[in-house]
């Protein structure tokens, strides 16, 4: 095989989940020893692309992918991650895959431990070979040294700072002799500035050793620092391919978020104005795993649609969940002049705050129960509606009739496609499930409605309906809506104001009309004005 062949060559890779297209002929090449920066918003298709490259089972289960890719010029088709490993592709995920009770060394050589012969092998096979602990130590050390970081190879992973875990994972990939391509999925997200610096340094070192690296990160300056080549993904397409020399943070950001306006969602250009604040949040913190909110303050005006954007894991989702009492939280939330009691779901609900959870299947729905239950339950609990007295008012039981009517009403209003109000929710499509969630919230006749990721994982048509429903609901009933979404354009299409959350704090608030680039930079924390107060 000619040496001129690139190490990795992607050719017109495409992928659709249930007719919902996430990747469209992506092509690029990666040479030996190169570092390629892969950037794009959440949902731009980065992870899908990596899943394909890594032969993740989800891809096969959802009907494979289009196009092909070549390793050293040979077409590669991986049935499972292990194939990819054999081909010398190493991946470091965001969530660590380390054994907590093992030492760094043990983790680095996990399932590739050096072993020695002993007589029992003759009968029981190679798994009874004894471990060669010294050599394990040695290999661990050498792998770590290659990264030129200082980690004691026999500290337990469970006792490591998060940064070291990251390095341990990378060290594991390096320890595999075969590894020639390394995928780092937002490795710096969990690192401190200094750790990140070290990581970048070691990446260069690895590259120098001839290992190619695909580096996914939202910290654009890092990308520009370390990469030889930058590929920008948006809506599953390569919108820009360049080298650090020819570009700058601003440009990349623009390419990342800057959609051509006539795409997806048009908005009617009416700037609305509102009188008084209805919701005032001050110094809110929330312990939500993966979406930690550190210190957030903002205020929402009555009758407006307020957007909260930001990249995944920055904490935007934590805000709604915190206020609704789903996760431990602190700070002050004033609604309509009254203090909302935190950590008590009843309080916000009873004040007329409703919420549509981002975790539809986990929190939003009773999958095994019929649609009707899903819609009316909260109302039944909070407002004791849909109950009828029996035995001369001795006590009250469910009023199935009223429930049926109400459900029917919402099924029609929101065009929920189903066989009837008794159908189990788990049988519905994502879009219709989302509509059920909305119906559930509407049934409460809320004054203020939190909507988190309303369009996540549902097809374009359904997106439209959902967004229109929200806008309509807001205009007809004047309900205040706080919409939280990773999809910037979505926010811009229906919101009046948008606050961007970054690292658990408000990065800044802008009227929805200002250019996406602005928001893009806020998201990436490239504009450091988190201190500015909102709505003033």
């Amino acid at each position: 095989m000619a040496l001129s062949e690139p190490l990795l060559k992607m050719e017109k890779i495409g992928k659709a989940y249930f007719g919902n297209r996430v990747l469209k002929d992506v092509s690029f090449t990666l040479e030996k020893g190169q570092i390629l920066g892969l950037v794009g918003e959440n949902g731009a298709g980065k992870s899908t692309l990596m899943n394909i490259l890594f032969g993740m089972s989800v891809i096969q289960e959802t009907g494979g992918y289009e196009g092909k890719f070549f390793i050293n010029g040979e077409e590669a088709q991986f049935k499972n991650p292990l194939d990819a490993l054999d081909a010398g592709i190493g991946m470091v995920h965001q969530e660590f895959s380390l054994i907590p009770g093992f030492t760094a060394a043990e983790n680095i050589v996990l399932n590739r431990e050096p072993t020695q012969y002993n007589v029992l092998v003759e009968s029981f096979g190679d798994r009874l070979r004894t471990l060669n602990t010294d050599e394990m130590e040695l290999r661990g050390k050498t792998a770590i040294e290659k990264l030129n970081v200082v980690i004691d190879s026999d500290t337990l992973v469970s006792e490591m700072p998060v940064g070291h875990k990251q390095f341990t994972e990378i060290a594991r990939e390096i320890d595999k002799e075969k590894t020639q391509l390394l995928v780092l999925d937002e490795p710096t997200a969990v690192l401190t500035e200094s750790e990140a610096e070290i990581l970048l340094a070691s990446m260069r070192k690895l590259a120098a050793m001839g290992i190619a690296i695909i580096f996914i990160s939202h910290r654009l300056h890092e990308i520009i620092d370390v990469c030889d080549k930058i590929v920008v993904l948006r809506d599953g397409q390569v919108v820009h391919e360049t080298t650090p020399a020819q570009t700058n943070v601003m440009e990349i950001a623009t390419h990342m978020v800057g959609r051509n306006i006539e795409s997806a969602f048009a908005r009617e250009e009416t700037v609305r104005s509102f009188a008084k604040d209805i919701l005032k949040v001050e110094h809110l913190w929330v312990d939500m795993p993966g979406e930690t909110v550190r210190d957030v303050s903002f205020s929402v005006k009555e009758g407006e649609i307020f957007g909260i954007g930001g990249l995944a894991g920055q904490g935007k989702l934590g805000i709604a969940n915190g206020i609704m009492g789903m996760y431990p939280s602190g700070g002050s939330v004033v609604f309509d002049g009254k203090e909302v009691v935190l950590n008590d779901p009843r309080s916000p609900l009873s004040m007329g705050i409703a919420s549509v959870s981002e975790d539809r299947r986990g929190v939003g729905l009773l999958l095994e129960e019929p649609i009707s239950w899903n819609i009316i339950f909260t109302t039944l609990q909070m407002q004791s509606r849909f109950l009828k007295p029996v035995f001369g008012g001795l006590f009250k039981i469910r009023d199935e009739e009223a429930i049926r009517e109400a459900t029917q009403k919402y099924i029609e209003a929101l065009e929920i496609k189903c066989t009837g109000e008794h159908q189990r929710v788990q049988e519905l499509s994502g879009g219709n499930q989302q509509k059920v969630c909305l119906a559930k919230a509407f049934a409460l006749h809320p004054k203020l409605l939190f909507v988190s990721e309303p369009t996540r994982g549902i097809d374009v048509g359904a997106k439209r309906v959902v967004l229109d429903t929200l806008r309509e609901y807001n205009q007809k009933r004047g309900t205040t809506i706080v919409m939280i979404s990773s999809e910037l354009e979505e926010l811009r299409s229906i919101c009046d104001q948008i606050a961007i959350v970054n690292e658990g704090r408000i990065g800044g608030t802008r009227p929805a009309t200002c250019p996406s680039t602005e928001f893009g930079l806020l998201m990436l924390g490239e504009i450091k004005n988190g201190v500015e107060k909102v709505g003033v």
Partner: protein
């Protein structure tokens, strides 16, 4: 700084939580021994006997715990296999060490088979291994009865009339193991100051401890530890998780089988239909008393456990007698203790797991 303070308290409570069981037991025994008025020599003798008798059974629990499958209540399956072996050699009238070894050889394939079955079933009930293996124990007890009470002597030939029930088939409730009674314990007779010490048995146990230690250092052992701590990661690293889990159960079952044989050769008689039930219960209780948890157990845990638990076991009836003048009371008390201790240990374990979850979550926010 508030985080620091709370974490300190955590550590403190952590220490007590993790050692609560042995502490409670030490206290109980400390109170009970003087009341029971037993002579030291007697107690020492008893403890030695019981160490020899039970340690092996308890040790058989270690490996599944290592593989993260909790307390293997399925060990009763192994015990059953062992008992079937014993019934056969008794019927054939094979005497002494040869008899005992033969029993072991016969019952091994049976134990392997049962263990494999148990493993497969537990793989289908990940996350609730304990309750499943527990019920499985009961279920197999039914099957065991079916075989021994109806199969033996009718389908499967059993000649010896002292074994078979008068009705012509089925084994009697009590099987006399006079043939192999204490054959291992007295193999190398030794007694110091009137205290007989079953050297041979201890040698076997020691050998087994060495095995466990060595096993931890094998590839298989390493894989088991990995699987025990995080199945998904292990899977991702290419370790055959389910197979590993099955193997761990098989090993445990086979060892339990030998353990039961050693146990019964010391006792010398066997209640055909509930020796194994007790074996499982006491072994688990003892291990937990030794300070082991559902996720972590060491060899010291085993021996400390056996001693503490059986100290209580021996002492409590007499203590009860002298305290309230009813030995019966002590009897019930020790039953209560055996079950109570398991309950406590399980609760502490589950409770601790929840605490850890919270602590992990709190850590997320870091120092904001």
């Amino acid at each position: 700084m508030m985080t620091k303070k709370s974490s300190f308290q955590d550590n403190l409570s952590h220490f007590f939580v993790s050692n609560a069981v042995p502490i409670i037991f030490l206290a109980l025994s400390a109170v009970a021994i003087p009341i029971s008025r037993f002579s030291t020599q007697y107690l020492v003798q008893e403890m030695l006997v019981r160490l020899a008798r039970d340690s092996f059974l308890v040790l058989s629990l270690l490996i599944p715990i290592m593989a993260g499958m909790g307390l293997n209540f399925g060990m009763v399956l192994g015990a059953m296999a062992g008992e079937i072996g014993l019934i056969l050699i008794t019927d054939w009238n094979i005497v002494g060490i040869p008899g005992m070894v033969l029993a072991m050889i016969i019952s091994t394939p049976l134990a392997v088979l049962l263990g494999w079955m148990c493993g497969v079933i537990l793989n289908r009930a990940k996350g609730r291994e304990m309750v499943t293996s527990f019920i499985l124990g009961f279920f197999m007890n039914g099957v065991y009865q079916l075989i021994v009470l109806y199969g033996f002597g009718s389908v499967f030939p059993i000649k010896s009339p002292d074994l078979v029930l008068s009705r012509g088939f089925g084994i009697r409730n009590v099987t006399n193991l006079e043939n192999i009674r204490k054959c291992l314990d007295n193999l190398i007779p030794l007694s110091i100051g009137g205290v007989a010490i079953p050297i041979a048995t201890f040698l076997v146990i020691a050998a087994f401890c060495v095995f466990v230690v060595w096993f931890r250092k094998t590839k298989l052992g390493q894989d088991m530890r990995a699987v025990g701590q995080d199945m998904d990661v292990a899977e991702a690293a290419g370790i055959p998780v389910e197979r590993t889990r099955i193997i761990s159960i098989v090993i445990s079952t086979v060892l339990a089988c030998y353990g039961q044989i050693i146990f019964l050769q010391n006792i010398g008689t066997m209640n055909t239909y509930n020796s194994h039930e007790q074996a499982g219960m006491f072994a688990i209780a003892a291990l937990l008393v030794g300070g082991a948890s559902v996720t972590k157990a060491t060899i010291p845990n085993v021996f400390i456990g056996v001693i503490l638990f059986h100290l209580m076991f021996v002492v409590s009836p007499m203590a009860g007698k002298y305290l309230i003048g009813q030995a019966q009371l002590g009897e019930y008390f020790r039953v209560f203790v055996s079950y109570g201790i398991i309950a406590i240990a399980l609760v502490l374990h589950a409770w601790r797991r929840q605490q850890d979850k919270d602590r992990a979550r709190r850590a997320l926010r870091g120092n904001a």
